[in-house]
């Protein structure tokens, strides 16, 4: 059985000019131990999906439809008191900027101990030993000496390691990593991704890796979901989506990955910009930018359709579509 199932999730924001639908009928599942990459441009709804799953949508944003199930049980309609023990213990989260995600006034050890003791029956001493173990695990040198150090005494990369330890220390089965390397120095990014990969594999933790970096997805994820304007454009095994994308948008995204093996004259880019939530075009949201638009695309919105090994929300894959 899938660990996490998201079904027809809808997230809305009421505003002065009407209700904006930021996530529109998104469905996907994550198996235990699996790494699902979620890619897309800024504002495509990647991070919001993560926030909705962990129950931390910022008001006035709200889940307006669909279901989120963990181990087959709904968690999208739980009261705050029943959701709280799930966060950290069942689903962990890693945020973008390690400089702001750690409380500056508490030593990192204390933050670890507090998190573990919230969820696990540990004595002060055991919790502290385990905290040291975790810091060693995520590669903090001299962990035993540095456990009482404060966040400002660490570099950005080291802090992100601490954040990873904090997210995983109560042994959740799923961790949502929201752009975990975006705020870091390029030279550090690869180390952090490698660490995340190693440590989640060791603990059998599933990962929902949200990023706009296709390169990271390509080398880390098992499967990938491509999001566009609040919907999933394509979802499937990472190899297939990268090598033989079925959705013109994925094709555009993949075209923008620089490659060492194939020398290309210039990287392709997709013309135009993603529509704002207030002005999503009729039919397929991608149709104004799509090189293969045809009549149906401007009138009807496509749902996910089977397209070989992947699924794509594109009329090109409908039975009896124009060019087959």
């Amino acid at each position: 059985m899938a660990l996490l199932e998201v079904e027809d999730l809808i997230v809305e924001f009421p505003t002065r000019r009407g209700v904006l639908r930021a996530i529109d009928q998104v469905s996907f599942a994550i198996d235990p131990g699996e790494v699902l990459g979620v890619v897309g441009e800024s504002g495509a709804g990647k991070s919001l999906t993560g926030a909705a799953i962990i129950g931390l949508l910022e008001p006035p944003g709200r889940i307006a439809g669909g279901q989120i199930r963990l181990n087959g049980e709904r968690i999208d309609n739980l009261s705050p008191d029943r959701m709280r023990p799930i966060r950290g213990r069942q689903i962990g989260a890693i945020f973008q900027d390690p400089l702001t995600t750690l409380n500056p006034l508490y030593a990192i050890g204390r933050q670890l101990v507090e998190t573990m003791q919230t969820h696990l029956p540990l004595s002060d001493r055991d919790a502290r030993e385990r905290a040291i173990k975790w810091l060693e695990d995520v590669g903090i040198p001299a962990a035993r000496q540095r456990i009482d150090a404060y966040p400002h005494e660490f570099s950005g990369g080291m802090r992100q390691r601490v954040v990873i330890a904090l997210a995983l220390c109560a042994e959740p089965r799923l961790v949502i990593a929201d752009e975990p390397t975006t705020a870091l120095d390029v030279s550090i990014q690869a180390q952090i991704i490698a660490l995340l990969k190693r440590i989640t594999r060791e603990h059998g933790t599933a990962v929902m890796l949200v990023t706009h970096d296709m390169g990271v997805i390509a080398e880390t994820a098992d499967r990938v979901a491509v999001m566009y304007a609040g919907r999933i454009a394509e979802i499937g095994p990472v190899k297939d989506v990268v090598l033989t994308p079925a959705h013109p948008y994925s094709e555009g995204l993949m075209g923008s990955i620089p490659s060492l093996e194939h020398r290309v004259e210039r990287l392709r880019q997709i013309d135009g910009a993603m529509p704002r939530l207030t002005a999503i075009p009729q039919g397929c949201a991608f149709n104004p930018r799509c090189p293969s638009t045809f009549a149906r695309c401007t009138t009807e919105r496509p749902n996910l359709l089977h397209a070989g090994p992947t699924q794509a929300a594109c009329w090109l894959h409908a039975k009896g579509a124009a060019n087959g």
């Binding site: 931390l56 989260a93 995600t101 500056p104």
Partner: protein
């Protein structure tokens, strides 16, 4: 720790010397001290004698040096109005003001901080909104008007509490306190509430604003994402971070208490330094004014020092790179 304090004290010295300079200039040049001392009729010889006696014929820096030296020994000259040494006058009045300010500060902190936390957490709750509206009224009502209203209600209409003076005083080691007798305590209530109310609303609004700011921060979101209890998040993580900016402002507000005690003391005829100052200003009693100025400066420097020390205790970032946060002021 120690070099940190030392640096702060060294920084304060120029400020104090400047204020002393202003204070000295007032003393020596504003109005005519000689005429003030001699009264209406005097001969030129008497005048010269007085000028000499006051040291006004000496070079400026000598006069200033003497002034600072005397001030360090608690000698501030004679009050024109009461013909008594200013040092003694102020020392007599100091306990009254200190007791009043202390009680008002305690009230402001003990009520203001919890209310601020509450209204910050329950941002949209009905009670929180009501408190916010009431607090805005509190901020808008001038201190003297609050005092008058309280007198009207509790002294004139209900007759429960006295409206002026300090009640019965008890002497301990030459220190007169009103805290040890029932009438003294009763006399303290209205002035302390009047003085504390404004600061209380300010502190409350500040704590609330900071609380809202902190609750939006990434580390609070991360704490929520780790499933920490609401209690631990609100009171452990959020409140402590709120304290850093709150301490500064509260420190300055406590200084403000001393200033506003002038108004409160006037309304309640409370025999403290503030009342002395107002009475002295009305008749241009310069020695009292210049001494008050000096004393207030010393108190403010002391308060700032305490604020810095508290900072140091709360914020670990300060303990490492000392310079980064001290560039505040």
């Amino acid at each position: 720790m120690f070099p940190f304090i030392l640096a702060r004290i060294l920084q304060a010295i120029p400020v104090l010397l400047t204020v002393a300079g202003i204070s000295f200039a007032l003393f020596a040049y504003v109005g005519d001290p000689v005429a003030q001392m001699l009264g209406q009729d005097f001969t030129l010889a008497q005048r010269d004698a007085m000028v000499h006696a006051l040291g006004l014929d000496q070079p400026l820096y000598v006069q200033y040096g003497k002034f600072v030296w005397a001030a360090l020994h608690g000698e501030f000259g004679l009050s024109y109005r009461l013909a008594k040494p200013v040092g003694t006058l102020i020392l007599e009045r100091l306990p009254a003001t200190m007791e009043l300010a202390f009680c008002a500060a305690t009230l402001a902190l003990c009520v203001g901080v919890p209310l601020g936390v509450y209204t910050g957490i329950k941002r949209n709750g009905a009670l929180a909104r009501l408190i916010m509206i009431l607090s805005l009224i509190g901020v808008s009502l001038p201190t003297f008007l609050i005092g008058i209203l309280l007198i009207l209600i509790f002294a004139v209409l209900l007759g429960w509490l006295p409206s002026f003076g300090r009640g019965t005083l008890t002497e301990i080691l030459g220190y007169h306190t009103g805290l040890l007798s029932l009438s003294g305590l009763k006399a303290l209530i209205l002035p302390a509430v009047t003085l504390g109310l404004f600061q209380m609303t300010l502190i409350m609004r500040l704590v609330r604003a900071e609380m809202l700011e902190v609750l939006r921060s990434d580390y609070i979101k991360f704490a929520r994402a780790r499933g920490l209890s609401t209690r631990a998040i609100n009171f452990g993580h959020a409140l402590k971070n709120t304290l850093v900016p709150v301490i500064t402002v509260v420190g300055l507000q406590l200084g403000g208490l001393l200033a506003f005690s002038i108004v409160t003391e006037t309304v309640f005829q409370w025999p403290g330094m503030g009342l002395l100052l107002v009475q002295s200003i009305a008749v241009a009693d310069i020695p009292v004014m210049s001494t008050y100025l000096l004393l207030i400066a010393v108190l403010f420097v002391a308060i700032n020092l305490i604020v810095d020390l508290l900072y140091y205790a709360v914020d670990p970032r300060l303990r490492l790179n000392r310079r980064s946060l001290t560039g505040r002021g």
